[in-house]
Amino acid sequence: MPILEARSLTKTFRRPDKAPGFKGALKHLAQRRYKTYTAVDAIDLAIEPGESVAYVGPNGAGKSTTVKLLTGILRPSEGTVRVMGRDPHTERIANAHDIGVLFGQRTQLWWDLPVEESLKLLKHMYGVSDADYKARIAKFDELLDLGEFMPSLARTLSLGQRMRADLACALIHAPKMVYLDEPTIGLDISVKDRLRAFLRELVDEGTTLLLTSHDLADIEEVCERIVVIDKGTVAYDGPIQQLKAHYITTKAVNLILEGPADVPALAEKFPEYGWAAGEAPSEVVVTYESNRFTTAEVLGGLTAQLAPRDLSLSEPSIEDVIRRLYAGELTR
């Protein structure tokens, strides 16, 4: 049975339809007009317990609105949501006990107090026992180095520290379902790595995770399933590996030859592959369809006939696939 199930989930907003400038503002005062736009359009989504799902899409695709619908912050215009059998909007308080939420752009720390005070308040809110609180803080300290800034005022924290503290706030009650909306936004690579390692451990322990991010490394390292949303509708929903296998059919090998590469001659000699000049005169990029040739075949043939000085394989990039999905070049 899914831990989260959304059916035909829709959210529409009404926006003032104003012409620009002073004249437009005056006209709007006299004659108010609004436009309705659909942020989330009849989305169906089911998440099983223990799944880690990436929810991705371009800016304005409806990701954050979906998260707010799933967490009970917003009321759906149409459709239904059930999280652990509850309607998260009408049963908001009961639902909030079992979920953890992190909004990367909105802190839940009390800005003018030490981090420790915010966590203690959340301990009271969620009714966490003293023993559990101590054990979880110790674990957060081990994995996120929380101890170093626990006594610091929230407003004095760096962005990385703030995000780690916010993550601890979202998880202090060991929620069954966790929503993370852009948890690594603005972080440097070392803090991102630590957060991702922490999230992987969380998933390994059985926590259900829904992650939205523009950083595709977050998605590849933490999630098994990906839901791509665009213009409020689901463009793809399936395992990340399947997405790669299905759409990433072109692979590439970079060859560095002993002398300058004659690309037209090579293309004539090996017409089954694609050929392009590399960055250096002696460099050439060979592309091939992975459903026609194995990498071993390609490498074996090319090294035997061209004897390259060096070669490297380009790893298939999920980023390219998602970019093409956004651009409408690929369909489900």
Partner: protein, 265 residues
């Protein structure tokens, strides 16, 4: 202690601590409130002289102004902006993911911030007492009932403030609403001038509103302008407003929450 009471207490304490983080606010509160009280004292001293106006002589007016100062410090020093800002800047999204009743949690925070005004009020009252030597309560019972009336100001102030903050869901602005509320409260509570100085019809309008309980009610009880049954009646009316505004807040929030439109992350 039940779980919800423990959460209330934790929110009150954290709100108090947040105010404690900005000590200069207390100093400014004292300077502004104390300054306003001194100006009022000087003005009324000149106006009343040795005579009386609408039942107030200089002695009773001194107590009246100190009562008004305490109420103003409690109400105007509380942190209504913190709640309004969270609605306007979208942090309400975070509040809505917490397993607490939204109104009750905001009430606890607001009352915590009202309690944080106690040092300002205490220092101001002590100074005024030493400077002006106002009369004590008409009777010990009047003193106790005045204290009860003041205690009810905590939930009453929250009820009015919360309702006015909820208007932000529609207006998307708060400053004007706050100015309007504070102007209405200052005028109809009797903080600016005692209600007895107003024409009869305006007094009737005032007493039909919750505002007189911020100054006129505790002052009338303290000065013995009403007997014990009269004082109990005023306190009952104040309590009725507390209950009514609480449920009005619940009702309005049910509609307001549908207006939540937190765009972007």
């Amino acid at each position: 202690m039940s779980h919800t009471t423990a959460v209330d207490r934790a929110l009150i304490v954290i709100s108090f601590k947040r105010r404690l983080a900005y000590k200069s606010g207390w100093v400014f509160g004292l300077a502004l409130g104390g300054g306003a009280m001194l100006i009022s004292m000087a003005m009324w001293h000149n106006l009343l002289g040795t005579g009386s106006l609408s039942g107030y002589d200089w002695e009773s007016m001194r107590a009246y102004l100190i009562i008004g100062f305490i109420a103003a410090t409690m109400v105007f020093g509380a942190s209504d902006f913190t709640i309004a800002d969270r609605i306007l800047d979208g942090h309400i999204a975070v509040d809505m993911t917490k397993p607490v009743d939204f109104q009750r949690a905001r009430g606890a925070e607001y009352i915590g911030s009202m309690i944080s005004t106690a040092p300002t009020a205490a220092v101001g009252v002590l100074g005024a007492w030493l400077l002006f030597d106002p009369p004590g309560p008409a009777t010990p019972v009047a003193g106790v009932l005045t204290a009860v009336s003041f205690l009810l100001l905590f939930p009453l102030a929250f009820g009015i403030t919360y309702l006015s903050i909820l208007v932000c869901f529609w207006t998307k602005r708060y400053l004007g609403i706050m100015w309007l509320r504070e102007a209405l409260l200052s005028f109809f509570s009797g903080m600016m001038i005692p209600l007895a100085f107003m024409p009869g019809w305006l007094q009737a309008v005032s007493w039909a509103l919750p505002f007189p309980h911020f100054t006129a009610t505790p002052a009338a009880i303290y000065l013995g302008q009403v007997d014990v049954p009269g004082a109990l009646g005023l306190i009952a009316a104040e309590a009725a407003w507390v209950v009514g505004l609480w449920f009005a807040g619940r009702l309005v929030f049910r509609f307001a929450v549908r207006k939540v439109t937190v765009h972007g992350g």
